[in-house]
């Protein structure tokens, strides 16, 4: 009985606040325009649900294209960044060499530099390189925040694997590279899954770089496409916009629900020194 006050009531309040916007997204995306513009209808319910907004989104806009663009960029950026980070993390966590401290510090500082202060000079670099408005250019660009993050995460994970394993293998005459790929790599699976999930989510959610560097409608990602092509400033935008937001959140939400534990471990692991 006591638990109603100490647990369920406050938890319910949190749930109401934290989940309401999702309810609002779902509701709006299936609400016909007549009900959306009605000032008398109860805004919290829908009497005649419709799939018209979804249909409009999928067949009358470039949404499917944006979706695949985002999928391709996020997958490629994740694959590139996690591989590169794994190699770097191995060097930093398992090899003793001069300058390791300095490199670790550099990676850490890079992790703390937000994209928000880089996009202006990076725009110049992209122009010089001729990478503007090329979808694939987002892959190396995204690695600038994915590599520091994943390396940081993987160094922490690799340090927790006992050194004795490696020493035993070296006594048996295994080369460093063999140790890396045949012993450390399989043992790092949980850390790698965390890095994969996080990198994919961060790439999927990225907005600023894609907004600044992509301009052709066919090169946009989901957040940028919705914000620049579907926002018209009138009441009729909301149905398709909410349907697009909902659909665009699904891949990361599904990934998240399958790997909650890894996600949580990654989030708290990123806060460790």
């Amino acid at each position: 009985m006591k638990r109603i006050w100490t647990l369920w009531l406050p938890l319910g309040a949190f749930a109401l606040f934290l989940l309401f916007p999702f309810y609002w997204m779902v509701l709006t995306s299936i609400k016909p325009n007549e009900e959306l513009i009605s000032v008398t209808a109860n805004p919290f319910w829908v009497s005649r649900p419709t799939l018209a907004h979804l249909q409009y989104l999928l067949f009358s806009t470039s949404y499917p294209r944006w979706f695949w663009n985002t999928m391709a960029v996020a997958s490629a950026a994740t694959a590139l960044s996690v591989s590169v980070s794994f190699l770097a993390a191995f060097a930093l966590a398992r090899l003793r060499f001069r300058g390791a401290e300095g490199v670790s510090l550099g990676i850490y500082l890079a992790y703390l530099i937000p994209p928000a202060i880089l996009f202006i000079p990076l725009a110049e670099v992209m122009l010089k390189l001729g990478w503007f408005d090329h979808l694939w250019a987002l892959v190396p660009v995204y690695s600038t925040f994915l590599v520091p993050f994943s390396t940081w995460l993987l160094v922490g994970y690799l340090k927790s694997i006992p050194m004795e394993l490696e020493e035993a293998a070296m006594v048996d005459g295994a080369s460093r590279l063999r140790i890396l790929f045949q012993i450390i790599l399989p043992l790092s699976a949980p850390g790698l899954i965390s890095a994969f999930i996080f990198s994919f989510t961060l790439s999927w959610n990225e907005y600023l770089y894609a907004l600044v560097f992509m301009s052709a409608p066919g090169n946009k990602t989901v957040p940028v496409g919705l914000a620049t092509e579907l926002v018209r400033g009138d009441i009729y935008q909301w149905g398709p916009l909410m349907a697009g937001a909902l659909l665009g959140s699904l891949p990361v939400a599904v990934l998240y629900f399958f790997f909650v534990e890894h996600y949580v471990a990654g989030m708290s692991g990123a806060l460790k020194g």
Binding site: L19, T28, L87, A116, I120, S143, R176, I235, S268, L271
Partner: protein
């Protein structure tokens, strides 16, 4: 391979090779542009024109610019206010979830969702929730007889600031919750049990044991959150674009507006440059906190 192997087994050679790809990417697309950005802040460059060095002219002009002053105030306020709420509510939710009850995993997964979904997409939902004509908040308040007309959430400076803060707190709570959950689980149960046996009240246990033991973690969470709130762009640009009348601009949205939309690259870089000293202090503080971590 047989001949290559001994060379690769030399630690410095191997380490260099393994670090090279990361160094190229991070050096070329992060460290180099960062340097370029600092230099750009001292130039009168526009899009398509590299410009020339004008010393501190951009900064001198900007500190007299009322919009920049308002932006500095907004950014500070936005960061401080949301931090307090995110910390308090995030910790409260972590304490609730830490009670371990039936369905704990389900609740934890579901309540972390705001942090997982793309910020811009949830920002659309908030934008719609704060719609001047069709906001359900206005609808409910009018229905309850508390208001006679709809609130213009995003068209009134203080309401717009408050609305953005609510959206930011909504998104940021789970970050603190996850961090604190890990911290809470690391506190040995015996400590609480011993305090209970000694007759300590729940409040005493919280403030004198739990809170104190969580302090180092609080420092780290606060610094990380501060860095990302201070340089927020997505929420504000999506919901208000810095309006009404520049009332909700943050450094980054203003930099974007002037540099990308307005073409004044040098000036935009200088606006971003204003955040650098704060970021440097926060990064140093984070480093210090991480090194002290047990």
């Amino acid at each position: 391979m047989a001949r290559l192997s001994p060379v690769l087994d030399r630690t410095p050679v191997l380490a260099t090779l393994l670090l090279l790809p990361a160094a190229v990417l991070v050096g070329g697309l992060l460290a180099f542009p960062l340097t370029l950005g600092v230099l750009l802040g001292f130039k009168d460059a526009t899009i398509g024109d590299p410009g020339s060095f004008i010393g501190l002219e951009n900064y001198r002009y900007l500190i007299t610019d009322p919009v920049l002053r308002l932006t500095a105030l907004n950014t500070g306020l936005y960061t401080l206010v949301t931090l307090v709420f995110k910390l308090a509510l995030g910790l409260a939710l972590a304490l609730l979830l830490n009670q371990r009850f039936a369905g704990y995993r389900f609740w934890r997964s579901v309540l972390l969702l705001p942090y997982v979904v793309p910020t811009v997409l949830s920002a659309f939902a908030w934008w719609w929730i704060f719609d001047p004509q069709f906001s359900f908040i206005s609808w409910a308040l009018v229905k309850a007889g508390l208001l006679h007309h709809n609130l213009d959430f995003l068209g009134t400076p203080w309401l717009a600031r408050g609305s953005l803060m609510v959206a930011n707190v909504w998104r940021g709570i789970p970050f603190f919750t996850v961090g604190y959950l890990a911290g809470l689980q690391a506190i040995p149960k015996e400590l609480h049990e011993a305090a209970q046996i000694d007759g300590a009240s729940a409040g005493q246990i919280f403030w004198q044991i739990t809170w104190v033991l969580l302090l180092p973690l609080t420092t780290i969470l606060t610094i990380f959150s501060a860095i990302f709130t201070f340089t927020d762009f997505q929420l504000v640009w999506t919901i208000t674009r810095g309006g009404p009348a520049n009332a909700t601009h943050l450094f980054v949205t203003l930099a974007y507006q002037r540099a990308i939309a307005g073409g004044a690259m040098g000036e935009g870089a200088a606006i971003a440059g204003f955040t650098l000293p704060f970021l440097a202090v926060l990064a140093w503080a984070a480093l210090d906190a991480l090194r002290r971590q047990p």
